[in-house]
Structures are given as C-alpha cells and as structure tokens.
Amino acid sequence: MKRSVIDRLKEKSSLLFIAPHLIIFSIFFIIPFFYGIVISLFNWHMFFPEMREFIGFDNYQKILFDTEHIYHEYFFNGLGNTFTFVLISVPLLVAFPLLFALLINIEPPGYKVFRGIFYLPSLLSISTLVLIWRWVLNTNVGILNLTLSEVGLDRIPWLAEQPFAWASLVTMTVWWTIGGNMVIFTASLKEIPQSLYEAAEVDGANIFQKFFNITIPGMKNQLLYITIMTTLASFNVFGQPQLATGGGPSESTKVLMMYIREIAFGGGRPNPGIATAMAVLLGIIMIAISLFQSRIIRRLG
C-alpha cells in the first residue's frame, strides 16, 4: 500500500521529464495551430483588437470562389507557381541524389571527398545561396554568360525571362539541397544485400533490370521518406524566388508563400485573416498530397 503511493509519486515526478518540452510545444505549436484556424475565420486586425470581426468562412469563400476578388487571383497565381516549382524540382531532387549515391556507392578513390563536396552547399543559408547564384547568373558579368559568349553564344537573362527563371531557381535548389537526400540514399544502398545482385547476375540480368528489380524495391522506405519530405519542402519554397527573382518576370515565380507573407505582414494593408486562410488551404493541400504519395508508393512496393 505505502509502496505504491511512493511509486505513483515517483511516476508523477518522472513526468517532469517531458513537461518542459510539452509546455513549450503546446504554446508554440498547438495553440498557434488552433489560433490560426480562428484567425482565418475573422476579419482580423493585427493591432487594433476592437476592429476584429467574425466573418465565418468569408475569407475562404473570397479566396476560393470569388473570381472578382483580388485575393482569389493572388491565391491561384501563387498556388500555380508553387505547383510549377514542385513539379519541376521534386523529380530532380530525387533523381540527382540517387544518381550521385549510385556513383559514390561504387566507392572510387576519394569518394568521401566527393560526398563532402556534394553535401557542403546544404549548409549554406538561403541568403548566401542566392548571393552566390545571382553572381554566377549575372547577365553581364556572371561566369555562366561570360562562358557562353566566349564560345559565341548569346547571353541569357537567367533571372529575368522564362523559362530561364524557373531553370535558374530549380538549379540553385538542386545545388543547395541534394546533399541530405544523397547521404540517405548512399546509406540505404549499403543495406541491400549484395547476394541479391549476385543472384541476379547469375540469371543474366542487365544493369537496368538490377536497378529496377533490386535497388528500387530495396529502398522503398527511403524513397517514400525522401519523396514526401522533398515535396513538403518544395511546397514551402520562399527564399529562392523572394531573393533571386523577386517573383518576376511578370509575377511568374511569385510563389504562394510570398503572397502569404506579403498579405500578412506587408506594408500597406496587412490582412492576417486572408493570409492565414491561404496558409490553412496550402497546409491542407500539402497534407493531402503527402498522404496520396505514400499510398501510391506503398502500392508500387
């Protein structure tokens, strides 16, 4: 009897271990989540609370269905641009690291150095990344265009004209972020038993058959993980277009995150209700797509 009381006390006190994290987590993750949904149902004035007004789903209605409304246009333009970025970047952000991982997995001399070089850019901050690439892509004195004109080709306005602007943004993203995916692929390649390949060789399988029949199924989980994480990250794209193209040319690289930030915090007339509603919609889309992806990949496996 006495013992169990002490035990229970002990158990309670041991919950103190999770308390600090749980409290902070609640304040800065859980409360904002619900608070955000509340904000999106208001005509929300950030600073003069007396001016806030509950309007139900009006913000969502404006964004989604009111074709006359400017926020409708902004949302769909931003969402379309975000989708464009996701569609171009995700396949490359999965394929390139996989290719690099296959090469590194052969373990040629100095493979650790190569791995380090490919990984290194992912340590840079977005500002550094964009500074580097704006300089490389500079129309007049960037090394890329200088090289092009050296071999007699025309200079290309990399950041000022489509489709080059997308190409540039995706290229810098690939350069910046493939390191992590590559390392995961390298590690998972090691976990595929060598005997499977040997058996396939005995059966006379060529390199592509081995790749599709052994390698890919062998790292199904990592592939799923990487595809979902990369997709989510790509949906959050913000810094590259914000700092490199400013959303141009003609707002064609102005992604939804840029609109959300501008509407929420921008000079002029901030409208947190609309911005939060857009964020919630983006969130729902992202969750839906990652669930969809996981189902597809599981079925393939």
Binding site: F47, I70, E73, N138, T139, A160, F265, G267
Partner: protein, 421 residues
C-alpha cells in the same frame, strides 16, 4: 556531478544571454538627458552621412539630447512600422517617403506636427513649395521634408565627345543620338534600360510628360489606362524593340553596371546614385529628363520626410528633442546634398556652396518636379502597373493596351478591397 554543473552552467549562460537581450538600455547618463530613437532608411552611402549628422548633433548637444539611430531598409521599414507602432514600440522619429505619408497618416500611425506642444520653428517659405505641401494630410501636417530625389540623365562625356553628339532633351533627339551611339562592334549601348527597378519611375515620368495622371482627381481609382498612358508606356517598348537603344532583358542595376563600365552613353537613374557613379571614375555629366519622353515638362521625384510615429504616450521632452534634431539636420542639409540628394531647404539650395556642386544644378529644374498623387490609396491603385512596365520592356510582342487593362483591373480590385467594398 561535473556533468550536472556543466548543464546548469550552460543553462545559466543561455538564460543570461536571453536576459541581456531583454533590457537594452544600458546608458546610465544623468536624468536630464533626453534620448530619442530615430529610424532611417538610408542603406547606401547616404546612410553614412546621416550617421555622421546624427553623431555631430549628439556631440553638439552633449548632456541635453541624444539621438540613437537605426538603419532599416525601406521595404522592411514599412512592414515594421505597421507592427511596432500600434504596440507603442515605434521610434520617436523616422524617415518616410512622400508617397507613403498619406497612407500611414490615414492608418493613424503618425503624430501630426500641429499637435506639438513646442513650436516647430520652421518657415514654410524656406522649403520647396510642392514638397512642403506634400506633408499635409486632411489639413494637418505630418511630415517635415528633408530632401527631394528626382531621376535624371547621366551621360558619358567621353563617348559623346568621340561621336560629337549633344545631350538630347527630346525623344526625337534621343532617337537621333542613339542611332549614332549604338555600336555593336565595340559592345557600346546608347541607353541601357532596366526592365525592373527603376523602370516604374521612368514610366511615371513619361506618364506625366504625356499629360497623363496616375490616379483620378479624387486620388482613388487608376487613371493611367488612357491614350496618354498608352503612349507613355509604349515609349519604352519602342525604345527597346524598335530603336534598340538597350540590350533586351536588362535587369536591375545591369543598366548601371554598363554605364559604370563605360559601355553606355546614357543612364537614367535617381540622384541617389550620384556617388556610385562618381566612384566608377567615368567622365560624366548630368541633365534633366523633363521632356525626354513627352512634351509636358515633368520629372518624377520622391522625397524623404521626417515623421513622428504615434508614441504610446506623448512626452514633451522628447518632442523638444525631435524638433531640435529635425531643425539641425535641415540646416545642415548641404552635407546631405553631398551624400547625393537635393535638400528641400531653399536657403541651402540658394547657397553658393550648393550652386557650386558640379552635378546637382544640371540634374533637374526644381520647377519641373512632379510628385505622385498624395493619396492613401496610391500603392493600391498604382502599384499593379509596375510589373506591366516590366512586361512591356521584356516582351517584343507585348500588347500594351492589354497590359494597361490588366493593371487597371488589378488596381481597381485592390482599391475596392482597401475601401472595404
């Protein structure tokens, strides 16, 4: 035990750092010292001169006033102002562009100078009239002008001499000059034009020169979708695609880079770029663009103004310090001219020292200056044209009328949203 100690220590260190962050004010000067905070938006070379001015003011008023200044890039500045002022955490005094004044006054984020307990001893006859008037919103004064910053023409003297070409003052002269000056063989351009910043300022100048207006009479709806607006925008499309004065797809500062490299005969930019061009070592001169695009003389100009963000509670000592500071900077604004701006103070403008400055007096005739409409809705209605100016300069097949239509529609929608319709 050692481990526990280590953890506790790091915890303390971290918390200590955090706590240090909390209390920022660590000057223990005597109680009579009045300290004010000043946010400026001068991130370029002019920022250094502003800091020097502040330091000199502090030195001259030691023990009485002190100004703590903070440089914030203008984009961030306007966002921040929205957030800090309503919480009573705004700066005591700040710099604001003329075309933003009405909006922030309307939002209730500024204090009017009319409400000052102590008089602002500034004589309006001392200021350029147009810019002095621009500080008024609904018959109250919210701003004291510091400077005027027009755009103008920079020309490369050596190139003009080599081809024996005069500085053009009209569109026809410009085209004629460019036919001579464009030289593919040596990679030399007549007038490289960035299709982004500052192209919208060029468009505004062109619009006013064609007799057009940015907003309607009430300062509400877009008024640029007219024949005048069409002509104003078409000028840039033709300059690039018909007359080939500029490489296509030139982006921000690439036009400037070409001029600084001596590969361009002309460059249009703000007077704020003056020191950047002097730095390049080019032999150059400046001229007005008042009739370069159309017949009505007009030069776009902006203006930096002192404003007082609304404080949590009025402090008369601080207001006194603000007045002293603004007066000091205004009286010393010849130094501001050296930093690459045109002072708004007429006494300074008329001084022999100012007149002797090599580039300022040819840059613009003060009478030609046109400010954008002073409306709280200027950004809402007018901004949508910016990206269409880019399109017109970017796309050889651009449909100018369609671009104007789109901009007008977006401007109208944004205005309706702002008006709450």
């Amino acid at each position: 035990m050692k481990k526990i100690l280590l953890i506790v220590l790091t915890l303390f260190a971290a918390v200590g750092l955090t706590a240090c962050g909390g209390g920022g004010d660590n000057n223990n000067d005597d109680d009579y010292l009045v300290t004010i905070t000043f946010w400026n938006i001068f991130t370029g070379p002019d920022g250094e001169e502003m800091i020097n001015l502040v330091n000199d003011f502090n030195a001259a008023n030691e023990g009485v006033y002190r100004v703590n200044t903070q440089t914030i890039p203008s984009n961030d500045f306007y966002e921040k102002l929205n957030t800090v002022v309503p919480q009573g955490q705004g700066p005591d005094v700040a710099i604001m562009h003329l075309d933003q004044l009405a909006r922030y006054a309307q939002l209730g984020l500024l204090t009017s100078f009319d409400d000052l307990a102590s008089d602002l001893d500034l004589d309006e006859t001392n200021y350029i009239e147009a810019v002095w008037d621009a500080g008024i919103y609904e018959s109250k004064r919210y701003a004291v002008p510091l400077d005027v910053h027009p755009i103008g023409l920079y020309y490369n003297q050596d190139i003009l001499d080599a081809y024996d070409v005069e500085v053009p003052t009209t569109f026809d002269e410009l085209i004629a000059a460019c036919e001579i000056l464009n030289d593919d063989t040596i990679d030399q351009w007549c007038l490289p034009l960035s299709n982004v910043w500052p192209s919208q300022l060029l468009f505004q100048a062109s619009l006013y020169q064609h007799g057009g207006m940015d907003l309607d009479e009430d300062g509400l709806y877009p008024a640029y979708n007219t024949q005048n607006g069409y002509d104003a925008l078409n000028v840039f499309h033709e300059l690039i695609f018909t007359h080939g004065v500029s490489p296509v797809n030139t982006t921000v500062d690439e036009d400037l880079a070409l001029f600084r490299q001596g590969k361009a005969a002309f460059h249009i930019n703000g007077i704020w770029m003056l020191n950047g061009i002097i730095d390049s070592g080019i032999n150059f001169g400046t001229a007005s663009i008042a009739t370069l695009f159309g017949d009505t003389p007009a030069v776009w100009a902006g203006s930096h103004n002192f404003v007082m963000p609304r404080p949590a509670k009025v402090n008369e000592d601080k207001q006194e310090a603000i007045v002293a500071f603004i007066t000091y900077v205004s009286e010393n604004s010849l130094r501001w001219a050296n930093a690459g701006q045109i002072p708004a103070n007429l006494t300074v403008l008329d001084s022999a020292e100012y007149q002797a400055l090599p580039y300022h007096s040819t840059f613009v005739d003060i009478d030609d200056i046109m400010f954008p409409s002073l409306s709280p809705y200027f950004q809402d209605s007018f901004e949508p044209i910016f990206s269409r100016v880019t399109d017109a300069m970017n796309d050889p097949n651009a449909d100018i009328q369609a671009l104007l239509d789109e901009a007008e529609l977006e401007g109208t929608q944004r205005l309706n949203e702002a008006l709450g319709n």
